[in-house]
Symmetry: C2
Subunit: 347 residues, 2 copies
C-alpha cells in the first residue's frame, strides 16, 4: 500500500510520516500529495491569527475541545458532519527557529487534548523550512484534509505579512485581540482586520475590554464600508461596493465575540459564529470563490519557488559569487547584477 | 541635471520624488538607483523592530532627536561623522493597506521633529507595493544613503517573517519589548532575538519590567550560547562556536537597555550602545560581512521578483486560468499544475 493510501485509510502514523516528508519538501512527500489531492476540499479550514499575548493557543485548545464534544446537530448546519468531527491543529510559528514557543504551546495542549484520537496536532516551528512557509503549511493542511479531518485550525503567531499569507489558506479567519495591548497596536489592526471573518476579544475579563471593543468597531467601519446604496439613501440606484464590485449578496460583517478561553467562557457562541460563517460561505457561493483564491495563492507560491530553484541550479555558484562581489564593491548596482545574471548583461 | 544628480546635490524635493518612483517600482526610479548606487554604503542602517504595543515610534523619534542634538565627539567613535548627522527614518507597516497606522505615527512625529531639515521621514504603508516589500525598502534606503543621510532608521511594526527580512537590511538591529505583553510573546522572542544586536525594554516604568528582563536574559543565553571552550573548562582546545564556526573574535552579546521613550529616559545610554555596536562591526570586520549578507539578500529578492514577472509576461492569461480551474476542480494538484505551466506537463 502506498503512503497516500495508508493516509486515506486513516493510519495516523502514516499521516505523521507524510507530514514530515512535506515539511522536508521531499519528492516522496510531493508525489503523495499529488495522489491525495483529489480527496481534499472537504475540510473547513479555520485560520486563527493575531498579535502575541492574546492567548491564541488556549483559544484554539478550547475550540478543539468544544467541537469534539458538541457535534453540530443535523437540523443545524446541514453542511457540517453530523458525527463527532475530527479536528486537526497546525501551529505555525514562523519567527521561532528554536521550536521553543511551539513546544511550550504543545505541552499545554497535550495536557488538555491528549488521549482523544479525534484530535491531531502538528507544530511547524522551523523558519528555515525548505519550501516556502505558506506552501509547506498548505501541504500539511492538504494531507490532513485527505486523512479525513473535518475541521483544520491553522494557528499563526504574530501579525505580519507571513501570517496574512497563511491566513489566506483558510476559509474562515479569526483575528484574536486582547484588552490593553497598547496603542500602536491600532496600526496592526487596520491591516489584519481586512482578513478577519470573526473578531475575538480574548482575555475579556481584563480591564480595557470596552475600549478594545470600541476600537475594533470603529476599525470595522473603516474596513467594511456601508454599501453606497445605503449612503445615498433616497436614490436606490445600485452602484456597487467600494471593495468588491462583483459581490451580489450582502457582505459578511465580522461579528465581535468576547471570550475568556482559559475558563471556557464565550466558546459556545464563538463556535456558533464560525458555523454561521461556514453556512454563509456556502449559501452565497463565496466558498467556491475562496477555494479559487486559496488555490491560486498556492499555485503562485509554488511557481515562484520552482522558478527560483530551477534558475539557481543552472547558474554556476562561482558566477553568482563574482557578481555579488561586484555589488559589494559598488561596481554595479543590484539591478544591474540581476541583468547580468539573467541576460549576461544585455539589458 | 538628472534626478540622481539632484539627489546627490542634497535636493530634498528630488529625493522625495525619487522615493515615490522607487515605491512605484518604475524604470525611471530603477535607473536613478543604478546611478546612485556607487555613492551608497556610507550610512549606518539601524533596524528597529518588535511586537506591537512596545512604543517603537516614540523610541525612534527620541533616538532621532538625540542623534541630531548630540553629535558624536571626534575622540569617541572615529568612524562616525563629527558634525550633526543627518537622520532619515523609513517607517514600514506591511500589515496596513490603509496607511492608517503610518499616518497616525507620522502626525506624532511631525509634531516632534518638524522644522529640522536634518531629519527626513518616509512612511511605506502600502502592503500591495508593486515590488517586494523588502526590496522596495532597500531602494528607499539606498536613495537616502546616496543623498547623504548618515543614520537611517528602518522601523517595522510586528514580528513576523516580513519584519525579519526587513531587519536584514540593517547593520544594527534593535528589538524592542515592553513589560506585560503576555505569556506567549515568548514564542516571538525566541525567533526575533536571533536578529537582535541591542535589546530595548521600553515603557520600563511599567510593572513587570524585572520579569521581562529576566525572560530576555534567559532567552539570550539560549540564543547566544557560551562558546564550548568555556563549557569544557580545563581543556583549552578551541572547538569553535555552535552558531558560527567562522567567527574568530568574541561575539557581540546584545546588551539590554531600559527606556521610557516618551520621557526621554535611557535614550542617551541606548545611543551609546548603538555607537558601540557600530564600532564593534568595524573593528572585527563584521561590517563587511553584514554588507555582503545584506546585499546578497537584496540580490536574491530582485532575482526572484524578476524571474516571476518575466515568466508571467510569457504565459497567456487564458492558459494560466485554465490550469487554475483544473486545480479548483481537483483534476490536478498544485504541483502537477506547476509542471504543466513550466514544462507543458512533461515532468
Amino acid at each position: 500500500m502506498t503512503l497516500a493510501a495508508s493516509v486515506l485509510k486513516g493510519n495516523r502514523l502514516a499521516l505523521a510520516r507524510l507530514l514530515t516528508l512535506v515539511e522536508n519538501n521531499t519528492d516522496e512527500g510531493r508525489s503523495a500529495l499529488n495522489e491525495l489531492f483529489p480527496h481534499t476540499g472537504k475540510a473547513h479550514l479555520i485560520g486563527i491569527t493575531g498579535a502575541p499575548g492574546t492567548g491564541k493557543s488556549s483559544l484554539v485548545n478550547q475550540l478543539a475541545l468544544h467541537l469534539r464534544n458538541n457535534p453540530d446537530t443535523p437540523d443545524g448546519n446541514s453542511n457540517q458532519p453530523d458525527e463527532d468531527p475530527w479536528v486537526a491543529i497546525v501551529a505555525v510559528d514562523p519567527s521561532s527557529p528554536f521550536t521553543g514557543g511551539a513546544i511550550l504551546g504543545d505541552r499545554v495542549r497535550m495536557r488538555d487534548l491528549s488521549g482523544d484520537p479525534g484530535i491531531f496536532i502538528r507544530s511547524m516551528a522551523s523558519r528555515g523550512s525548505l519550501g516556502g512557509l505558506a506552501s509547506t503549511t498548505s501541504g500539511l493542511v492538504q494531507a490532513m484534509d485527505a486523512a479525513g479531518f473535518n475541521v483544520i485550525m491553522i494557528e499563526t503567531v504574530g501579525a505580519g505579512q507571513a501570517e496574512v499569507d497563511i491566513a489566506r489558506l483558510a476559509h474562515t479567519t479569526l483575528v484574536v485581540e486582547a484588552p490593553g495591548l497598547g496603542d500602536d497596536i491600532q496600526a496592526i489592526k487596520a491591516g489584519i482586520l481586512e482578513i478577519a471573518d470573526v473578531l475575538v476579544i480574548n482575555k475579556a475579563d481584563r480591564p480595557g475590554v470596552d475600549a478594545t471593543e470600541r476600537a475594533l468597531n470603529s476599525m470595522l467601519q473603516l474596513a467594511h464600508p456601508v454599501p453606497r446604496i445605503f449612503q445615498h439613501h433616497g436614490s436606490f440606484e445600485y452602484v456597487g461596493w467600494e471593495a468588491d464590485a462583483e459581490l451580489n449578496e450582502l457582505p459578511w460583517t465580522p461579528p465581535i465575540h468576547k471570550t475568556v478561553a482559559i475558563e471556557g467562557q464565550g466558546i459556545e457562541e464563538l463556535v456558533q459564529a464560525i458555523r454561521a460563517h461556514y453556512q454563509y460561505l456556502h449559501e452565497t457561493g463565496s466558498w467556491k470563490e475562496r477555494e479559487c483564491a486559496r488555490l491560486q495563492a498556492e499555485l503562485d507560491g509554488l511557481l515562484q519557488e520552482t522558478l527560483v530553484s530551477r534558475w539557481r541550479s543552472r547558474v554556476p555558484e562561482t558566477e553568482y559569487r563574482r557578481v555579488l562581489a561586484e555589488i559589494v564593491a559598488r561596481d554595479i548596482s543590484p539591478w544591474q547584477a540581476v541583468n547580468i545574471l539573467l541576460d549576461g548583461g544585455a539589458a
